[in-house]
């Protein structure tokens, strides 16, 4: 009995100590210095269903504390080393309070300095009324230089921190895996390419998997840069000759260019590649096709064919569109221009239309089409209902912004940026409200705020998906290794 009493007393004391550690709110003098945190989550707008925005106080390794306040609710997170890691339960509590209230969370950060605790000026996290798709998919690869050792396409549940492989090249003899694409954010309808080893395009529909041999006598290389037709019956691709050159005395360091490129459309049911003279000409470089949400238009980028690599800086891509009839598989004869590189002076890549059809999002750089290596590359957006340009200042930075995708509800954009260090590409998410205003983006949250410091890979081609890809990566890899693939036919529109 006495033993039991001693144990109970000790447990109560321990609990009191733990509670004290967690809830003993530290306040001190107000700091006159601005608070620097990484990732920069100050004044960002987030969806209610995002994982906790863990962060660290820059330039400090001391004890710290953050108080998250929304209306009457508040939670306190303490840290022994300046990393604010918020428990999932606490995060949900405060986000729910913000959702029910005015949509804001005030964050008050205190840190222990040499002369005692200091409190910084609070910052705000805004919670948007629109949710975000639960998952995203991306490829993780070392940035650039046309070589790799280990890579994979992964899916991340952004409501938590769980990441799973869709496929890793370690399961497929270390070939290249690239260009994953989903039909309207549907995790069940996906494709990606495998190169060098077990070459082919893997295309899935639920549990059905197919492997395609996309090189034909009429095309110059395997197909790349896919974009699904909303019906799921077609996929538009580029057929190109890509090369990389080193620029020893240039701030961009590397240039990736197409020596030639055309646009084709793959018919999923007939295993046939179709195209038209407007998309498949030697006079122009056509690339980066994408369908409109109603499937009636095919947008693409096009530049005058120039001598590569000598004239790589004069390759400037316009943004164009051509009609497409999914019933007859016919392309229109007229090509419309949304952005004219001849008059605009810059170069478009990666056009993507929002699923509600209202906005066209694309990257704009000084020249070329591989904008991720261009520090000058920024995101641009056109309101297709008015033709007006949308202000993207909040989303852009001095570093390269490039590949981007839309959430299924058209309220969130997911894009790549090199703003953290200029080399490694990270995934950012920005809110586009109903008025078309683009809000300050936030870096994909990680459990450990130091994660990006030691992570040596880039987030490549981030895409929203509405749920988890259920196919097991091992099964996909085994199929890719064993299947011989289906040969495609080529047909030019008369």
């Amino acid at each position: 009995m006495r033993k039991l009493f001693i144990i109970s007393t000790a447990l109560v004391a321990l609990a009191a100590m733990l509670c004290g550690c967690t809830y003993n709110e530290q306040e001190g003098r107000m700091s006159d210095k601005p608070l620097a945190i990484f990732p920069d989550y100050a004044d960002v707008t987030i969806p209610a269903n995002i994982a906790p925005l863990n962060f660290r106080i820059e330039g400090s390794n001391a004890k710290a504390q953050a108080r998250f306040v929304s209306g009457e609710s508040s939670v306190v997170v303490s840290s022994s080393d300046s990393r604010i890691i918020i428990a999932e339960r606490k995060w949900r509590k405060i986000v729910d309070a913000a959702t029910a209230g005015d949509g804001t969370i005030e964050v008050i950060v205190s840190a222990k300095e040499a002369d005692g605790w200091v409190t910084y000026k609070p910052f705000t996290i805004n919670v948007a009324p629109h949710p975000i798709d639960s998952h995203i998919a991306y490829r993780l690869i070392e940035p650039g230089y046309e070589s790799w050792c280990e890579m994979g396409i992964y899916q991340r549940n952004i409501e938590t921190f769980e990441q799973k492989p869709i496929i890793e090249n370690s399961a497929a003899d270390y070939g290249c895996i690239n260009c994953h694409s989903f039909c309207q954010q549907n995790p069940d309808k996906m494709l990606f390419h495998m190169r060098q080893m077990h070459t082919g395009t893997i295309i899935t529909d639920g549990t059905k998997i197919e492997k395609l041999n996309t090189t034909t006598p009429e095309t110059r290389s395997p197909l790349v840069y896919p974009s699904w037709h909303p019906s799921g019956k077609y996929v538009a691709f580029t057929n190109n000759l890509t090369r990389l050159i080193n620029l020893p005395n240039d701030h961009n360091r590397v240039e990736v260019y197409d020596g030639a490129s055309d646009v084709v459309v793959y018919d999923v049911e007939r295993h046939e590649i179709i195209t038209s003279r407007n998309l498949f000409s030697t006079k122009y470089f056509e690339t980066f096709p994408t369908f409109s949400p109603d499937g009636g238009k095919l947008y693409f980028c096009t530049a005058d064919s120039v001598a590569m690599p000598d004239e790589f800086k004069s390759a400037k891509y316009s943004l164009c569109a051509i009609d497409f009839d999914e019933e007859t598989r016919r392309f229109g004869e007229r090509v419309d221009t949304l952005y004219n590189a001849h008059t605009g002076g810059r170069s478009v890549s990666f056009p993507r239309v929002s699923p509600d059809g209202r906005y066209m999002l694309y990257a704009l750089a000084d020249y070329g089409n591989f904008s991720i290596w261009h520090r000058d590359a920024d995101l641009k957006m056109i309101d297709l209902t008015t033709g007006n340009e949308v202000d993207m200042t909040a989303a852009n930075s001095d570093a390269a912004e490039s590949y981007h995708s839309w959430s299924s509800n058209s309220r969130w954009i997911l894009f790549n940026s090199r703003r953290v260090n200029g080399l490694y590409t990270h995934a950012y998410i920005a809110y586009v409200d109903e008025q078309g205003k683009v809000h300050k983006p936030f870096l994909l949250p990680q459990r450990d705020p130091d994660f990006y410091d030691r992570f040596m890979k880039s987030y490549n081609i981030p895409e929203f998906i509405t749920g988890e890809v259920e196919l097991n990566s091992y099964d996909i890899a085994q199929f890719a290794k064993e299947d011989k693939g289906i040969d495609l036919k080529f047909k030019m529109q008369e």
């Binding site: 050792c149 370690s170 399961a171 497929a172 020893p248 005395n249 701030h251 260090n421």
Partner: protein, 596 residues
Amino acid sequence: MKNPKIEKYIVTGFWAVLWAAIMIYMQIKHSFHFPYIEQSQIFLFDGAYLSEKLWQVAGVAILIEEFITQFFCIPYVGPIFVASALVGVGLITQSIVKKIAPNANAPLLALMPVALQLTTMVDYDYQYSGIISYIIAVAAIRLYLQFERQTTKVIASSLLALLLYWAAGPAAIMFVAAIAIYELFIAPSKAYFTLLPMAIIAAAGWIAIYYLHLLGEVRYAFSPDLYYKPMLQPDKAFYYAWVAMPIICFIATLLRRRGEISSARKWAEVAAQLAVVALVVSFTFKDKEYLQPMVTKFKELDYYLRYEQWDDALKLAKEQGADNTLHILMQNIALIQTDALGDKAFAYTQLGPDGITMDWSDNNPFIFSILSDLHFALGNTSIAQEVAFKKNSESIAVNHSYNSRMLKRLVLTNIIYGGESGYDVAEKYIAILEKSLFYRDWATEQRAYLYDKTPLTPMMQEQRQNMHNIDLSYRMADNFDVLNDISHCNLSRRTFEHQCMGYLLNMDLENFYQIVSRVYGTATMPTLPQTFAEALLIYTTLNKSIQGNYAIDETTQKRFLEFQNFAAQNYNNKNLAAIMRKSYGETYWYYYMFTK
């Protein structure tokens, strides 16, 4: 041997001698192997790094391997580790045999796993997590033999199998195979319980592949391939040691009822078994590429380049010659670093342009660290960085770690590039190096150069200045007049001497002259290097018109005439090349005339 105490001394002495023999062999023959493999991984004193390592199949073995490997940059540590690990395996195996069959008199059994793994220890594609896993597994077998009650055996074997699979990976299969064979002979009717640990390992492997995605292929989950560089398939001999342990247990169980034997017979048996071990050892030395002198020479040259011991590299190249273009490339890097390429290139073996500009279009990471050294020596920060990046990527893929040598190079090249982006990336790599034991001081020193806080070192400033010249060297093939725009510095001299040497090795005197005619007399080439003077004499002889005056000393001109006369007089002599080598082997004339 009647006195057990003396017998114990002899056995202890034997293992001590064996330890010393292995250690000395490794130190004499393979001392450069250890720093060579040390560079491709860094042990970080960082919680996230440690937990990531532990959350792997064979996580404990990998962690121990990486912890120990970081000390391989210190002389003798590698050989001491290998000798200790192998003797450790032998001692535990001896204990297993003794436990099963006290009178076995079978040193062969204890020595077999040592003999079979001796050469593997210097295979650069082998990962030491293999030998560590082996030790853990044989220790588990020995521990298991302590248990006598059936229930204890069932629980212990199952728990050990699971723990082993996590800690040591597929080595757990060796453990289960060994105890299954042992149980089959000791108590055949009850041996079926060993199916349980087998099933546990099968399930653990499948979960690791299918659900946890820790392993990409079945062979990594259920074979020692996990301890070999991924992407490669080990030689058959690599598996023998793993098969040997269950066989050892089998033989030991056969010998378990053996009675006492006479001393004479005992020694005769020991001698016979040692002879077998010697045979096995000699067999393991056969056909191993990684034991070839050219490989050990490569590792030695690699060490000298890494630690900037240029004179040692040149001494080795001079004394032992170069076996292949990679050796020549390494020797030429030392010549560039000592600013002696133009004067002394032909005093060393040269086999053509590959020895100075190795083709790396196949992206073979093996040569990337050497290429990075070459281009850094030439002031080509761009390529030095690119190949360093690729080599580091290889370490990330193969070892899930970083390449310390290349990470240092990436720090330097990014500082040289400068600008916010360059400094940000350099800082990222510095922060990683600062978590290591041996590189943190160097890394912290580099922080001073970030964001222009401190002026760059002269070397860094020259590298930054020379980017312009590298750009010119890329463009000069179209129009050599771009060379009028050279930004002169010591590195510009190296850059264009290297270009000239490339043409000379390719016997392209026309393009060689195009450069020399534009840079001679400038700060980039104030005087003619000896081999260039020799080449110009040939160029003149070939009736090419030379504009301008080139200061070629009289001795060289006189010697060239002698060379021509001798060659003309002995033109029909089949041994002309051998005869002239003695007097002219170190000249460009000899290379031009006799090298195919």
